[in-house]
């Protein structure tokens, strides 16, 4: 049941203090309790959102008068090769980081699930990269990928292999940025998958054993299908995070995105357009396109992973 009568009892006079008769004012405590979020959202969320949409149809340098330009920002966006490059970079980085992250995480989770001892310690060790700040991690990865004295090159030299100018060439930048994302997110996803694995009823495994299914067969016909909702969660979270990649390249190779602008992601381009070039209207158009992309990719993931489970 739900409570309605936390307000102090009314004095007699009105016959029935039932729900219908109550004036909306008698609920003031509830509205007061909810008000902080909605007030903050109105001022710092809803108003800016409306304003961004408006801005996308305007030309504005942040100081002078705003000028309505219709769809001009969007038509420029379609022809802007830097925008498409930034989109390409974002997607490549997303694939290069998410695929290994989730594959390694799933492997580790299955292993961790069958390990009996030290689970707690492994979990803590795997989670620590995720609470490390992006800035500190990016500085660290820039250091180990550095040309002259980076650990990666030292390792290559020790093996007698040629060294690379990792952060000075397009693919090197992508590899360094992806390596950092893999490091930060593999442990987090491992722990999420582990929790999912532990929620699978053991009877199913016993039944499979009775039927004589091997470990691989068991994995593909029981573990993976049962894990689908959790996989969906991690894929969607990775997509939302991946499409917003900003700090990693910004700290590692700077605002320009490095060699061939290989680290210029869409959000980094948005940041440059707004806060360095002061082209706020165009930045608004880029922001909206990022939002639409996140929506589109979330919907695609949802369909792909949900769709199959309903077969």
């Amino acid at each position: 049941m739900t409570l309605t009568a936390t307000a102090p009892p009314r004095s007699a006079g009105t016959a029935e203090p039932g729900r219908r008769r109550k004036s909306i004012w008698s609920y003031w405590r509830f509205y007061l309790a909810l008000s902080p979020f909605y007030i903050l959202f109105a001022v710092f969320g809803l108003y800016p959102l409306g304003s961004t949409i408006l801005l996308a149809f305007q030309k504005w340098d942040g100081l002078g008068p705003r000028q309505f330009v219709g769809l001009q920002n969007f038509s420029f966006l379609l022809e802007d090769s830097t925008f498409w490059l930034s989109l390409w970079n974002t997607l490549v980085l997303f694939v290069m980081s998410t695929v290994p992250t989730l594959a390694i995480a799933l492997t580790l989770a299955v292993m961790l699930n069958s390990a009996i001892r030290f689970k707690g310690i492994y979990r803590i060790a795997y989670f620590i990269p995720n609470i490390t700040s992006l800035v500190a991690a990016a500085i660290f990865f820039a250091a180990i990928f550095s040309t002259n004295f980076g650990l990666i090159n030292s390792g290559l030299r020790a093996l007698g292999l040629p060294t690379e100018d990792w952060l000075g060439q397009p693919w090197g930048i992508k590899i360094a940025v992806s390596a950092m994302i893999v490091w930060q997110w593999t442990g987090y996803n491992t722990i999420i998958y582990l929790a999912g694995l532990q929620a699978i009823p053991t009877e199913q495994y016993e039944a499979a054993k009775v039927d004589g299914a091997g470990p691989l067969r068991t994995f593909f016909s029981i573990t993976l299908p049962q894990l689908r909702p959790v996989v969906l969660f991690t894929v969607i979270m990775s997509t939302i995070g991946g499409l917003q990649t900003f700090t990693e390249p910004q700290v590692m190779v700077g605002e320009t995105g490095g060699a061939d602008q290989s680290g210029l992601t869409t959000v980094l381009y948005f940041y440059n357009t707004a806060f360095r070039a002061n082209d706020y209207g165009y930045a608004g158009a880029i922001a909206i396109s990022i939002f639409l992309l996140v929506l589109l990719f979330t919907a695609i993931n949802w369909r792909l992973l949900r769709g199959r489970s309903s077969e």
């Binding site: 409570l3 309605t4 936390t6 307000a7 102090p8 909306i24 609920y27 405590r29 509830f30 909810l34 979020f37 909605y38 903050l40 959202f41 001022v43 710092f44 969320g45 108003y47 800016p48 959102l49 304003s51 942040g62 292993m111 390990a115 492994y122 979990r123 989670f127 620590i128 609470i131 490390t132 700040s133 992006l134 800035v135 500190a136 991690a137 500085i139 660290f140 820039a142 004295f149 650990l151 030292s154 030299r157 020790a158 490091w183 593999t186 722990i191 999420i192 929620a199 939302i240 917003q244 910004q250 700290v251 959000v267 940041y271 707004a274 930045a283 922001a287 909206i288 939002f291 996140v294």
Partner: protein, 273 residues
């Protein structure tokens, strides 16, 4: 499982764990040596004695302590406000009925889909209008309540607080805010602990928004200070890594103390979601 496979399993899991922890070890190595030592080939893998020198250089080059103080003020006040506002709203949604409840909750859910960057430009304009640019208020106030926390705590309140308990407290003379204080808050401690650590860590590590809104170089948060240290002194790796290490230490302590609660809370969200 036979013994050999068991050992192999733990070797693989340990290697993965060491890879996760390696950056911390290597940061410590760099922070205790000179940059010249690190330039050497083969690289030095042992701790040196340059730590205090490196710390001194960090303090000379960036207002480290004031940045740390700023970050602590922002992270602590954000966390306290989020815990208070979110729990109050979550408790109301979880346990009471009032006109407009459904609609308000749908709005709350919808706001979670909006990516932060979408509104950054007008938000910055709002900050200019309020005169908050360069002020810590710009970091704390907009973050003082959030949909995720309300949504997350609401589920917790629904499952963990029995209506009878609220009735009993009401009969004892507690009003709405009394019930919140004496029944809701004490029973939600684990959930509040997770949300608290989550908010604190997120606020401590935030970079994008502080980078935009904190324009005064004397008035930065740690992450922005750290990135400016890296930008201007990127060649002095030992010093920059010392800064990174110092910026991480408080967070690592918080995490290690609350690790279990934090990990449990983080997984619950995913499994239910």
């Amino acid at each position: 499982m036979n013994r050999g496979r068991g050992i192999l399993l733990h070797v693989a899991l340990t290697v993965a764990g060491l890879l996760c922890l390696f950056p911390f070890f290597w940061t410590l190595v760099m922070a205790t040596n000179t940059t010249a030592d690190i330039y050497r080939y083969p690289p030095k893998f042992t701790f040196g004695s340059q730590f205090d020198d490196n710390i001194r250089h960090v303090l000379e080059n960036v207002a480290f302590f004031s940045s740390m103080a700023n970050t602590a003020v922002v992270a602590i006040s954000t966390t306290v406000l989020v815990l208070f506002f979110d729990s109050l709203a979550a408790f109301t949604f979880a346990k009471f009925r009032f006109p407009g409840r459904q609609a308000l909750f749908v709005i709350l859910l919808a706001t979670m889909l909006l990516p932060a960057q979408l509104s950054v430009v007008p938000q910055f304009q709002t900050m200019i209008a309020f005169g908050w640019v360069g002020s810590l208020k710009a970091l704390v106030i907009p973050a003082a309540a959030n949909a995720f926390g309300i949504f997350w705590l609401r589920q917790y309140f629904q499952n963990s607080i029995h209506d009878e308990l609220i009735e009993a407290a009401t009969l004892d003379g507690c009003g709405f805010f009394g019930v919140y204080r004496h029944v809701a808050l004490p029973s939600a401690r684990p959930a509040l602990a997770f949300l608290g650590i989550f908010t604190f860590v997120g606020s401590w590590n935030d970079y994008f928004w502080p980078l935009i809104v904190l324009t005064n170089p004397d008035h930065l948060t740690l992450q922005v200070a750290l990135s400016s240290l890296n930008r201007s002194h990127g060649v002095d790796y030992s010093m920059v890594m010392t800064g990174a290490l110092l910026a991480m230490i408080p967070l690592i302590i918080v995490f290690v103390v609350f690790a279990r609660q934090f990990i449990k809370g983080a997984t619950e969200g995913a499994i239910r979601g």
